[in-house]
Amino acid sequence: MPIKYFFLVSRQGKLRLCKWYTTLSPKQKQSTIKHVSQLVLARKPKQCNFIEHNDCKVVYRKYASLFFIAAIDLDDNELVMLEIIHRYVEVLDRFFGNVCELDLIFNFQRAYFVLDEMIMAGEMQESSKKTVLRCLAQMDETEALENAERGWGDINLEGVARTALLSVQELRQAFSR
């Protein structure tokens, strides 16, 4: 059950991350993102997390101000896709520490790296949080060694609201295990 594409879009329709697991022309990619974003942003909170678009099923989930959107085949398992998204958010949360949209904006490249450790070729590659985080920590360490200057901690982000993607309750659940 390959994921065809996976992208993050803010409530305002701004693209935050975009990953293609099928090969399409830039034009097709753009129009797909545009249409699917519109479809998803127009959905109401109580509706289900699935909607059909062309030949695929779009599975999405909203975390704070961000929509995580994935497209899968028509007969693929939607629920488990939903949980792939959730696991990705959990890993991001642990990796960035209480992750919010801003982290993903300023560290978009790292969000890609995290994704690459969890999903490859449109399939779940590793579902163990521990394994993924160990791998990412190693990556960070290597970069730190190579790179004296790092992080964005010295940048003034005052006045910017930070809304964590996971609620306190969800966090507690995620950490309790």
Binding site: F50, V80, F108, M120, A121, Q125, S127, M139, E143, D154
Partner: protein
């Protein structure tokens, strides 16, 4: 990277889009100049490439920086390489000139000493996946996957990397070479590795069902350890559910294989399913746990349906699903409906689902279009003769309120259901007329065309259809599609009601005319033809008709004008022959797949994975299943048949046990032939030889260490002459040679040594490399089942006499001559024979050779032709399909035989159907074809 952070912060501060664009352009110019500096270091290059990536994410076009990305890839620093590969995957197109350099770098990185670098390379390959990568790097990736030295990280990534390449370039990766070695990894102790390999196997299972056969038993074992034995590590537990992703992968993988044969494996599988269903009986409190739990349940139900081994279990599922479709959670409702429609497509008794019909109809009004869609699918799947009227009328009722996006599909489904389950003619016509009136704007011409086709084909329908048509035209409002149907029907059959009250020709014409002015050009064109037909049907209103046509002779629309002018000319022509000929009644429409069905199925044809089922009733799914997994599930039966098949076998007789050193090796297969046919190479070879002679007249029949036997045959049905050649391949002369042939039943087949001049005496001895010949005359007295046997006896100096027994390739199929008939005749006979239903033989045969190239199809054609069928060109709408006709001649009579071969290269399967005027002929030729396939 501070510079990057500052840049992003800058962009975020921009108040308007123009400001942002200005800032972006400034940065682009800056980066361009920076890239030109020769002294730029790796860190800065990385920073600028990241900025470019960010801008492209915002939607700005970035068309440079590719060279710098490649330079980063070549860097020795991990973080620079990482960004380099990311940029390559995000910015470059498949045809980029820089990809070659990337492939070079990948090749190097694949062999790097650090596993982190290898992982980066693997990630990059799966992200880009170009053709050159598939061609150049596949073997390296396979090595990494199989290498005992490679870490779990590398193995996982290697498997998924292969998956990407397999999906995109199946022919370039040559999966058949390595797929067998990868299967055992399904049993790997690391869950991550198993999961990745399971994903890969799922794709390969569809292409290589044979090679991956063992995967099923691995998957069952692994599932058992997860579900029943609780063997897993804690990091893979997701909200109390053990490795849900792996469970789902394995449950899905098993859906590509037939139900296991051994009762032990079946009961293991059943207990796994049972366990999953039991666990799902309580509703988990947490959302994540519920999702994970239910996603497994739904997949398990899908597998249960596929295996089709326990209807009781499935009825239980129906009850469970009934609870879901009333759930407050929209997701659960949605999935409950979806899974239930899958269930409805297979389950034997629909009662347990029908119990929820009311709830399902309610779901058509759900707030969420996704749920409404699933409800429609389910109603379509669960429809049968009993509830058709209720469901169709509900759907019609919803049509008016339904979303525009859903209406076409709804209309198609109503049309199909009505046609399929109509028990009264009146009902069909009423429903369809209502349907076109309600939804006419939202559906293609297929629907009204289909109505006309059905009416043309059913005489009983025509009078009623005429009445309704006239009513429709007289009604105050009439939808365009309804108008077209009515106009067409009256034009064809108006005379049938011409004597009824208010239905006189003049009334019909007036009704038509009254609506004509308010319709579109295409509808008017249909109406003009009707008027033309009226001239022919009702001479009494000819003048009126001509007046109508005359008015349109000056129409601006070319089509209308042309029709009016031509019909007018026809109507005013001297003589009375042309008009009736032109407007002769339309013949019934030939039966073929309904255009409605094709249209509906077209929607679903475009997915990467083969769907294991389609929305719809049982028949359509059974049919699909027959093609997809038929080969595999037939295997057990065929294995039994195989042992009974005429297999050329040689046996040793006589000689003392100790003195058999010189006996032909071919005696071994005779002993083992019943149990392990395909594994023994010499038997497989003689089978191949025999099979070849089923469609070619001349060739080698047996190739042993001491002797070689060839056959040449000429047939003049019902007779024929077979030449048997015996060659000495031993180093010593052969003595006491005897060559005899015996028919299995002398009353059916007569086989005698040929008399006359051509015959030659069998020599006393045969020197090494020399050859002896014998001719036999055969006469086919009646249809026969078993091939005659050939006994070849000889002695090699110093050892016991040997007798080899071979099956002689003479079957009833050999007494067949090609016959050329027209396409129409073919179909008439095909249908006629099909209706009788007794003399049909059908096989679904694995045919891996088809996938390679067009040569496979060519070969198939020559096989069918070689078997004595005349190929009928253009008879089958599917160009790859082969249909042929032959007549088998025996002394007792002649038997026609029709064949249809449907190769499905995508599935690696071929369906062969034979219909003959004699059951034994069909069976015998069918098993010949089967054998030819099996030994290809």
């Amino acid at each position: 990277m501070k510079g990057l952070t500052v840049f992003i912060a800058d962009l975020r501060k921009c108040r308007s889009h123009e400001d942002e664009e200005k800032r972006v352009n400034k940065e682009l110019a800056n980066i361009r100049t920076k890239f030109k500096e020769p002294s730029i270091n790796g860190y800065n290059r990385k920073k600028y490439v990241c900025k470019l990536l960010y801008m492209s994410l915002l939607g700005y076009e970035v068309n440079f920086g590719h060279r710098e990305a490649v330079e980063l890839v070549d860097s020795t620093k991990y973080s620079e390489k990482q960004v380099g590969y990311l940029a390559v995957s995000l910015l470059m197109e498949d045809e980029s000139e820089y990809l070659r350099a990337v492939v070079r770098a990948l090749r190097r990185d694949m062999h790097d000493g650090s596993e982190w670098i290898v992982c980066l390379a693997l990630n990059a390959i799966s992200n880009i996946g170009s053709r050159e990568m598939a061609e150049v790097l596949t073997s390296d990736i396979v090595v990494q996957l199989l290498s005992p030295a490679a870490s779990m990280f590398i193995k996982k990534k290697a498997a998924l990397c292969l998956l990407r390449l397999v999906r995109r370039f199946p022919e370039a990766v040559k999966a058949h070479q390595w797929v067998g070695r990868i299967t055992p990894y399904l049993g790997h102790r690391d869950i991550g590795v198993t999961q990745s390999v399971a994903s890969l196997m799922t794709a390969l299972a569809q292409q290589y069902p044979e090679e991956t056969r063992k995967a099923a038993s691995f998957a069952v074992r692994r599932l058992k350890s997860l579900v029943i034995d609780n063997e897993y590590t804690l990091d893979y537990v997701y909200y109390k559910v053990p490795a849900p992703w792996l469970q789902i992968k394995l449950l899905r993988l098993l859906q590509y294989y037939p139900a296991p044969e051994s009762s032990e494996a079946r009961s293991t599988l059943l207990s796994i399913l049972r366990h999953i269903i039991d666990v799902s009986q309580d509703v988990p409190r947490e959302l994540q746990q519920m999702n994970a739990q239910y996603s497994i349940l739904f997949e398990a139900i899908n597998l249960g349906i596929h295996l089709d081994i326990d209807q009781g279990l499935m009825q239980e599922c129906a009850v469970l699903l009934g609870r879901f479709i009333t759930s407050r959670e929209t997701n659960v409702r949605y999935l409950g409906l979806e899974t239930m429609s899958h269930l409805a497509a297979y389950i034997d008794r629909l009662d347990s689902i029908k119990a929820y019909q009311g709830v399902i109809v309610q779901s058509l009004r759900d707030r969420d279009i996704s749920v409404r869609r699933r409800a429609l699918d389910l109603l379509y799947s669960m429809c049968d003769v009993e509830n058709a009227k209720a469901i169709v009328s509900e759907l019609l009722r919803h049509m008016a309120m339904a979303d525009v996006a859903l209406r076409e599909e709804m209309a198609l489904k109503v049309a199909i259901l009505t046609e399929k389950f109509a028990t009264e003619y009146g009902w069909y016509v009423d429903v369809m007329m209502r349907l076109v009136s309600l939804a006419g704007d939202h559906m293609g011409d297929e629907v009204w065309h289909r109505i006309v086709q059905v009416i043309l084909g059913n005489e009983e329908l025509q009078v009623y259809a005429c009445k309704i048509s006239l009513q429709t035209l007289k009604a105050p409002v009439c939808h365009e599609s309804a108008f077209k149907v009515s106009a067409y029907v009256l034009g064809e059959f108006g005379h049938l009601i011409a004597n009824a009250a208010d239905s006189a020709p003049i009334d019909q014409l007036k009704a038509l005319q009254s609506k004509m002015s308010s319709t579109s050009h295409s509808a008017r064109a249909v109406a003009l033809t009707t008027v033309g037909k009226f001239i022919n049907l009702f001479p009494e209103i000819k003048t009126l008709c001509l007046r109508v046509l005359d008015r349109y002779r000056g129409a601006l629309d070319a089509e209308l004008q042309q029709r009016a002018c031509e019909y007018y000319a026809l109507g005013t022509l001297e003589g009375d022959e042309l008009l009736p000929t032109v407007f002769e009644e339309m013949p019934p429409f030939p039966e073929r797949q309904s255009a409605l069905m094709s249209r509906l199925l077209k929607r679903e044809a475009n997915t990467e994975d083969q769907r294991t089922w389609v929305v719809g009733g049982r028949e359509i799914n059974r049919e699909r299943r027959g093609v997809m997994s038929g080969a595999a599930s037939n295997d057990s039966r065929e294995a039994v048949e195989a042992s009974a098949m005429p297999v050329p076998a040689a046996s040793q007789t006589g000689g003392p046990a100790g003195g058999s050193t010189a006996a032909p090796k071919a005696d071994a297969p005779a002993a083992s032939s019943a149990s392990e046919l395909p594994t023994d190479p010499s038997v497989a070879k003689s089978m191949r030889n025999y099979a070849r002679l089923l469609w070619e007249n001349d060739g080698i029949l047996f190739d042993g260490e001491e002797i070689q036997v060839g056959v040449m045959a000429q047939y003049k049905p019902p007779g024929g002459r077979i030449g048997v050649f015996l060659g000495n391949r031993a180093t010593a002369p052969l003595y006491n040679i005897s060559i005899t042939a015996r028919a299995a039943d002398g009353t059916q087949l007569d086989i005698q040594p040929a008399a006359g001049q051509e015959t030659e005496q069998i020599p006393e001895s045969l020197m090494p490399l020399a050859q002896a010949r014998v001719f036999f005359d055969v006469q086919c007295k009646h249809v026969f089942g078993a091939a005659p046997t050939l006994h070849i006896g000889y002695t090699v100096a110093g050892s016991a006499p040997t007798v080899s027994e071979l099956q002689l390739p003479v079957t009833v199929g050999h007494f067949m001559d090609p016959v050329t008939i027209s396409v129409a005749d073919f179909f008439a006979r095909w249908k006629q024979l099909g209706d009788s239903g007794i003399a049909e033989s059908q096989h679904v045969l694995p045919s891996a050779f088809l996938t390679k190239d067009a040569a496979g199809l060519e070969w198939l054609r020559s096989v069918v032709g070689g078997m004595g069928f005349a190929l009928i060109q253009g008879a089958d709408p599917e160009p790859n399909n082969i249909v042929g006709v032959g007549i088998a001649t025996t002394q007792a009579g002649r038997f026609g035989c029709l064949v249809r071969v449907e190769p499905k290269p995508a599935h690696g399967l071929t369906r062969v159907t034979l219909r003959a005027t004699n059951a034994e002929v069909a069976r015998s030729i069918g098993s010949n074809i089967k054998m030819v396939f099996e030994s290809k």
